[in-house]
Symmetry: C2
Subunit: 377 residues, 2 copies
Amino acid sequence: MSANTSSGRPHKVTLADVAREANVSVSAASKALSRTDRISAETQRAVRMAAQRLGYRRPVDRAADATATVAGTAAGASAARAGRRGRSGLVGLITSDYNGRFSLPMLTGAESTLGASNHAALLMSSHGRPSLERSHIDRLAAYGVDGLIVVGDTTNPRPPLDARTTMGLPVVYTYDPSRDPRDCSIICDNVGAGAQAIEYLLSLGRRYIAIIAGSEDFQAARDRAKGAQRTFTLYDFQPVDVLFDSWSEDWGERAARLLVECHPHLDAVYCLSDEIARGAVRGLRAMGRDVPRDVAVVGHDNWFVFATNVHPTLTTFDNNIALIGKTAAKCLIDAINGHPHHGVVSVECPLIVRESTEVGRRTGLEGSERMFARQNA
Amino acid sequence: MSANTSSGRPHKVTLADVAREANVSVSAASKALSRTDRISAETQRAVRMAAQRLGYRRPVDRAADATATVAGTAAGASAARAGRRGRSGLVGLITSDYNGRFSLPMLTGAESTLGASNHAALLMSSHGRPSLERSHIDRLAAYGVDGLIVVGDTTNPRPPLDARTTMGLPVVYTYDPSRDPRDCSIICDNVGAGAQAIEYLLSLGRRYIAIIAGSEDFQAARDRAKGAQRTFTLYDFQPVDVLFDSWSEDWGERAARLLVECHPHLDAVYCLSDEIARGAVRGLRAMGRDVPRDVAVVGHDNWFVFATNVHPTLTTFDNNIALIGKTAAKCLIDAINGHPHHGVVSVECPLIVRESTEVGRRTGLEGSERMFARQNA
């Protein structure tokens, strides 16, 4: 039978083996063994009999056994997992990102680190739907991935995956941290970016600084504004205004016009996204202000379509998504090897200085045009 | 031994089984069995002995056998594949896209179709590097995917994957078609979009129409311009000018200024991308022209960051990437079931009418702002 190779070494029976044996899909086999209300009694019986014949045990049960003897759930599950044979060399990424702006750089970063330990990465898209997230993880687990990286797109903390879903697989959360502090999460250092933005503008001699924020519903907006306020307090300054609304160019333009009307001495604007910054540049110009001579503008995201595509090119913070991917991959490999990490790791967002803050600086568009030629035909 | 389950039904020996047996990575096993110059002699011997012990045969060899008895290489390979047991229910997408703009909608579209035949999709990123593309496909094949969708990002025809790489798996090419007409490729109907753009502008009563194209190195630029010329010829008109250069906003702005200088009667511009169109709107305004009253502007891509983010919102063609993904998935499922398609399928790019072409039309930004709030924190 399939649990042993001809050389006598054990071959782990997977859910895929059970599904094949029961002549059902992997997804149906998984449902039959876990969520009993969503599958016919007949299929349930067939799958359970197949599992019994093959000696299949669900990873969650194996992990639970190990957990009972090792302190700490995550450590126990991970140790149990590390003790298993037959690593696949595959890591699954589950993304809720719709437009790929976060998930492709994350995949690229993760792969560059995973390659060193001879792993490759697979990405599946959950469209932010928990049921799809669960079914994708079922599939990935059934095909024997060694761990999971969850890719968010909001910066807001998210509920952790439950143990029935992850079935003992190590998990690292990225961009959107897990609400459970025992989990390992890798995020952007938005507080640090906010603090550095104001340090930088003060160092340029700017004294009348406003903040145009996005929606206050997002952790990113609150964190960047919080970091900025920290630096203002440190140097005993105050922002001339802090305006929250939405993440659009239109809002950036409206806010910039309003700021010039209310604060004619305005000499710098820290915008919490590049779209907002692009709109702000337009609004400032419409009000007769030169960027950067009269008003310096800083953005956030280093999203090339907004940051490098027209003059003035934008001074902005890079979200360092590829480094988040690399860090997540490193933590996941550690967890796969039985050394899990816990808590939140913040990855620094470097400041990229371009034309929108420094008079006389000229960054060419040629490079970005070449990139466009490749990416945007 | 592992080639049979306890019920006596055959269990296909996979490359993963061989790797486990030889105690090497799947990637090393694949290299050992195919590309002999990149692996140590010791590993090669271990892998070959393991393959022999398990009775493993490379899919490319099995496909080649079948091909000898069935007319047509692709049909033969596919029929051989369809005859195999043990489908995984997984389809692999290999993308060369860096920023996810094409590959995530493609994944979403493919998944919605694959779900109906109980398949799920996995995405791997090759960064346009043929060696990485090959090694990813090795991994996917080793883990038993049923077929491959190749996702391009240039619109330019590409060399087909060679048979040693695909090992008999059915393949569908998207966005960038395969140069081999026997392959199945699904692309945007760029010629049709160009033809429709001019039909539409003529129907609005515009008579002095210019084309601002991207780089002539791209099939998309040549095809959209070709379609436009077809309609001009049909109605016995000529464009006032056709300017090729690059895919950037900066080029759109420069070209629009030049056009107004040379052709004061200009009343419409067909821009071959949304970035170009955004730049053109800026250039036209700088020259005192109102959009759309004086000059109507049409873009291409329906890339939300450019098309819906500021007024005037852009009339543009949608690349229909999700539908390309769905169509590719449908063709792939047919091929998996032994009914492969051949040749190039062009998917229509629908025209999305917004403010940049029709006076008095007002499309709100609220919807897009909400979308931003989710996507761009």
